[in-house]
């Protein structure tokens, strides 16, 4: 009789316990929210890569996903809305030994922070940017975002969203990111592997994680959390190296997942050192 279940609280030895600020758990994310799973995958990747965790830091902006920095037991920075990437840029340039991971949401990174995203990708800042895309502004109660599907209902688009969303991997690719991938929280193993790869890779890496927001987005669009996860299972297709033009998120057709870009070019710091510093 080898297997058994242990339910006593005394066994709080979750494999990621050493990386979470357990004195701040439970986190603020709602039941069924995908951020916790994406965050967990990120922590597994940080831990699994064999890199020096003392030199690893997380920077977040504002919003539900922006709270991630507050739960990781490493040097962590919860900055202003949209400004995680420029803050992280200063952190990395200030100490190039650091592995800097930006963990934030779609509203933070692509609406208010959109300009910073494209410029960090363009200059190939050595950052790993993880965006939990839950298709709306969760923290403020479910308003339309730059990622909200056309005609979807939110508190600011009660008749349906008249606008169209960004294709984030396409934007990242066009801006010059050297690593681009997309997964859903259901594909947590692939997600973890890609984050691990992105951290160890130099240059600007971007990983989009589709995750449900059952309370604010799902409820208004008649989608229960389990139904969202079913969509992730049935309406997605894995196609590595897919054409970035084909990567829009539309669950009426198949949503393409995978690793889309993995290339090398000089990072911002390498290029600065080579161009601006005199040889010793």
């Amino acid at each position: 009789m080898p297997a058994a279940t242990k339910t006593r609280a005394a066994h709080q030895n979750h494999p990621l316990e050493d990386l979470i600020r357990s004195d701040r758990i439970p986190h603020i994310w709602c039941p069924g929210c995908g951020i916790g799973t994406a965050f967990s995958a990120c922590l597994s990747a940080m831990k699994g890569g064999g890199r020096n965790l003392e030199k690893m830091c997380m920077v977040s902006g504002i919003g539900c996903s922006g709270r991630a920095a507050g739960y990781v037991k490493l040097d962590s920075f919860h900055t202003t809305h949209g400004r995680a990437i420029p803050f992280a840029t200063g952190l990395k340039l200030g100490n190039p030994e650091l592995d800097v991971i930006v963990f934030s949401g779609d509203g933070d990174l692509f609406a208010i922070g959109g300009n910073h995203f494209i410029h960090a990708a363009r200059r190939n800042m050595d950052l790993t940017v993880i965006c939990v895309n839950n298709l709306n502004y969760g923290m403020t109660g479910g308003q339309a975002a730059a990622t909200t599907p056309h005609l979807a209902k939110t508190t600011t688009t009660t008749a349906g969203n008249p606008e169209s969303p960004f294709n984030l991997p396409l934007l990242a690719w066009a801006s010059g990111a050297t690593y681009v991938a997309r997964w859903t929280i259901l594909h947590t193993r692939e997600l973890t592997e890609c984050i691990q790869k992105a951290i160890s890779k130099s240059g600007f890496s971007f990983i989009e994680v589709l995750g449900p927001c059952p309370i604010n987005y799902g409820r208004r669009n008649r989608e229960k959390p389990m139904e969202t996860l079913r969509l992730y299972q049935e309406q997605t297709i894995i196609r590595n190296n897919a054409d970035p033009m084909d990567l829009d998120v539309d669950f009426k057709k198949k949503v393409v997942l995978g690793e889309f870009v993995d290339k090398q070019r000089p990072t911002c710091i390498e290029s600065y050192d080579r161009t601006c510093r005199l040889p010793e």
């Binding site: 080898p2 297997a3 066994h11 979750h14 758990i25 597994s44 929280i185 259901l186 193993r189």
Partner: protein, 90 residues
Amino acid sequence: MEFWRVPFDSEAIEVSRGIVYIIEDRCKGCGYCIEFCPKSILAFSSRFNKKGYHPPELLDHDICVNCHYCEIICPEFAIYSLPAPLEKTG
């Protein structure tokens, strides 16, 4: 373990076994672990945790294969599995 078609190396491969640990009071009852357990060995319990959710419980103690999927899909750090001591077969 039952097979639909017996793999040639089924004798040589040791099927991993796991012990599932549930930190009940962290659970917010999303049910992802229950729904996506490949062995379908989890279910909502009838108990309430201190937050008022029904945490999962194990239906069948013996068939966890220690795949960790419950652990990695859980948004709450509330469930995980560890390898069980090897079964002495003979």
